[in-house]
Subunit: 193 residues, 2 copies
């Protein structure tokens, strides 16, 4: 398999569409369309595969000893989805700073300790080169939605293992897959920070 | 927040692009672009939020007592990514049948038991309404790539907890976020099927 060239099909403020041409393993020319957060070209063409678009935060509350999840309006789903606090890393911003900023903006909570970060990992490489860092943190404070922007509408929820188990079995709610995976591990074995 | 209407911006064989218009919580008209697997319109407009586009398979090998992951060429990343066997559900196909078919096509392994399925969950709702079911299965057999299509190039790997830990810390490889989350749980606490 070998990439040959790339065409830009569409761009707006938060999403670009590219067509990559490649030679498949039988030697035939083929093409693949992908969505991207990148404005300058897909990460594989610009050498940016090692950089994260966004942080996804797994916050454990120090005093409440519970995980934090949010219930947030997602335009793409036309409804409220359960997920972790998350957001794009600003240009030049460190992962740590983005984590503290996004957690505070979305929930009003304050990071007291960074526990561990994943390497840069990819959210769904069949259709996008979007990449994230999973950031596990200890946090404190009381939830507030005063930092939400006009396009955000966010509730903060505290979740213990029994509530995590209940949410993971609920077919009537919308949930992000990363959140489902962490909550089902938490339900089975507690928090691994 | 309230959706008003939807425009189709682009379509090809595996990806569509839509623009949703909505009223934000300050009462202003806004727009959001999303990528979708759906050809008839985004799931939130067609009432398909409860149906999964794809299965993502977490296979545990009965005799080897190890997890299976694949190393697969991903055009969107221009390189090889570690991930779980996965694939689109054919029209009219059940989740169970898709799981057995995709696992066999991608790895040559045979499902002996379905352990548990997640509800339909969303891969990255900031940019797409793509949805999956996480399917945990027990499998058997010897790996083979003879079922790979021309656009697929797949190696099958067996992973125990120590190897899972090593892969999860490796910043030099490409890995899918779902796989990272399951492997890091497996490294910490073994397999929860």
């Amino acid at each position: 398999m070998k990439l040959s060239d790339c065409t830009s099909l569409f761009k707006d403020g938060h999403l670009s569409l590219y067509r990559l041409r490649y030679i498949n393993r039988e030697g035939n020319q083929s093409a693949w369309t992908l969505a991207s957060r990148e404005k300058a070209g897909p990460k594989c063409m610009t050498g940016q595969l090692g950089s994260a678009d966004a942080v996804v935060i797994v916050p454990y509350h120090r005093e409440r000893r519970q995980l934090i999840i949010i219930r947030e309006f997602r335009v793409a789903l036309g409804g409220f989805q359960y997920g972790f606090p998350a957001g794009l890393i600003d240009p030049g911003e460190s992962v740590e700073t983005a984590v503290c900023r996004e957690l505070f903006e979305e929930t009003g909570l304050t990071v007291v300790r960074h526990l561990r970060h994943s390497p840069v990992v990819f959210t769904s490489s069949g259709i996008t080169d979007e990449s994230v860092v999973m950031a596990y943190v200890m946090c404190t404070g009381d939830p507030s939605d005063s930092g939400n922007s006009a396009s955000e509408q966010i509730e903060t929820h505290f979740v213990g293992p029994a509530e995590a188990e209940r949410l993971c079995r609920d077919h009537t709610i919308l949930m992000d897959v990363k959140t489902w995976l962490v909550l089902s591990g938490f339900a089975a074995g507690g928090f691994v920070g």
